[in-house]
Structure formats: structure tokens, C-alpha cells
Symmetry: C2
Subunit: 183 residues, 2 copies
């Protein structure tokens, strides 16, 4: 295996095989992704990512499940032992833009050498914490700044970034159902 | 300090103080949250959460910045050393629902003993990976299941969960601007 078999860290033959698999069986692309959370105390909780459904089968557990702590900084009465859930949302967005660019550039035969992504979001926590408010407003505005080292034009690179599924999930309304059961 | 000074892991006097601070100075509630990402290779990248702006001042860095790896499972050509960015989005949602319930129950004087939250989201990765598609569609549907141990009614607990700012950020369209610069 030499360098021309690889692009952006992917094997070209793996990219071709995955694309053919999805073209031949579009249902394989229908994924169910999952996360679990368990409250510890105050603002702190533990999150687990392990199983998913995709490629027409169940992946019941990763060999190493991914465990993360979320919390709040002390000014918001947390112990500051993990990022806030809203910061996790920005992590998801930054990571998705970068990964999407790496993938889609590889599919288009465009080499990328470096990607860095910075995300900043505005939120009014008054609407979250104040009991006189009528509803939380979530993020009011999010700014994404991407720096890329590549031969391709900024316009083309921006078009590839825009494919991010997390970006789309934020820009468009997503139907979310919530069910609460008492033990 | 005894048990009646605390509710859901929060000091009652801290909750009162934070609420008074935000009521007296609504600008203090205007936060700017941030995340950074750096691409490693293929689907893998490193994420950093550290600084934020809030309570009318800059918190330039956490004592320990929060570093996380994101990746993809091997069926999606990753090395499976971290969750996918779309799974991170579900972590953000699960953690936000739990934390919001803990906070808002405490503000309302409602004791909660246990919270567990499971989230599942449907996404068609065909729209992300296939170059013949016109756009990524993001999450098509997300289901949140919360189990709570508390004296309060399911209706009231559900109303408190609905305050989650990550939930709102998904249900409503969020304006996101993206700028791509070449090095």
C-alpha cells in the first residue's frame, strides 16, 4: 500500500466500496444513533455512547463504550468537571464540519492537509434559569470558522463543509418526541 | 450545613443568589459558549472546550480544559476511537434534558432522586456520503425517553424537561453562519 492508495487518511478502495454498498442498498444508510445519560448530582451527569443500528444490522456495543461527564462551571453552580451540554452541542457541530469536509473532499478526490474549526454560540441563560420566562430559547446564533490547508478553492471547501449533518440538524427544525415516565 | 439546605445536589442559597443576580442584571445571562476542533486523520479529530463568556465577563480558560476524540465506527471507515459527531449531538441532548430537569426541579422546590435519559435519532447517511444527493438531511426524527424517581407528577416533570436549551436548539431552526478560510 502506498500513498496514492490513500486520501485524507482513508483508503480509496474503502471509500469506493462504501459508496457502492450504499448505492446498491440505500436502506444500509439508514442509521439509528443513540446516547444514554445518568444523573449524578446537581448539574453533573454521565453519558454513554455504545450501540447503534446501521448497514442493515445492529451493532450492539462498541468494544470500548465512550463515557463522558457533563457538568456546569462553578458560576452556574456546577463542579466544572465536564463541559456543559450546550458546549457538547458545539463540539458535535465543530467535529461534524471537520469530519464531513475530510470525507467529502476524499470522495471528490481533493486532498486536505489540515482542518481546524472554531465554533461560538450565543445563548441567553436567563431564559433557561429564570422561572418567570415562558420558554427556553436555545441557541440564538452560532458562528463557525474553519481554517483549511488544501489546494482547492475556498468556495469548494465551503460547499463541502455545508454537507455536515449536525449543521443541517441545527439549521432545520428536527421533530423531537419526549416521553417522561416515573419509576 | 444540613440536608434541608440542599436540593437535588444544589445549595438552596446558591440557587437563590444566581436567580437574584440574573434578575438584577439580565445581561449576565447572555453567554457565549465555544468549542474547537482539530482534524487528525480520516474521520478522527480532537475537540477542546475551555473558555466561555458569561455573567458579564470572560472566563478565559477552565483549570482543566475538556478534550474529547470523535471518530467513526469501522463500517464508516473510522478507527472507532470516539463517538461520531452525530452521537455527540445526542449526548448533548440527553445531558441537557437531565441537567435542565435537575435545575428546574430544584428552582421549583421539587426533589428528584434519580434521572436516566435515553435518546435515539434517525439519520440517512446516504444523504451524507452519496455524492449524487443534493443535500444532507441531518436527523429526521429524535426520540427522548426519560425515567425519573420523584414525588412530582409525570406531567410536571415533562414540563420541566421541555425547558432544555439543547432540545429547543434542535426543535427550532438556529441561524448558523459558516466561514471557510484557506491557510
Amino acid at each position: 500500500m502506498n500513498d496514492k492508495d490513500r486520501i485524507n487518511g482513508f483508503q480509496r478502495e474503502d471509500l469506493d466500496r462504501l459508496k457502492k454498498e450504499l448505492d446498491a442498498n440505500p436502506d444500509a444508510g439508514r442509521f439509528k444513533l443513540r446516547a444514554k445519560n445518568r444523573w449524578i448530582d446537581g448539574a453533573q451527569s454521565l453519558n454513554l455512547v455504545s450501540s447503534f443500528y446501521g448497514m442493515s444490522r445492529e451493532f450492539s456495543a462498541r468494544s470500548t463504550p465512550f463515557i463522558q461527564t457533563t457538568d456546569a462551571p462553578t458560576v452556574l453552580l456546577g463542579k466544572d468537571v465536564g463541559p456543559m451540554p450546550m458546549e457538547e452541542l458545539l463540539v458535535a457541530l465543530a467535529a461534524s464540519v471537520t469530519t464531513t469536509l475530510s470525507y467529502r473532499a476524499a470522495l471528490a478526490g481533493i486532498q486536505v492537509e489540515e482542518i481546524e474549526c472554531e465554533v461560538e454560540g450565543d445563548v441567553d441563560l436567563q431564559s433557561v434559569l429564570d422561572t418567570t420566562e415562558v420558554a427556553s430559547r436555545g441557541f440564538e446564533q452560532i458562528r463557525v470558522n474553519v481554517r483549511v490547508k488544501s489546494e482547492a478553492s475556498e468556495e469548494l471547501l465551503a460547499a463541502l463543509c455545508a454537507w455536515s449533518p449536525v449543521l443541517e440538524s441545527l439549521k432545520r427544525p428536527v421533530p423531537v418526541t419526549i416521553s417522561v415516565k416515573k419509576d
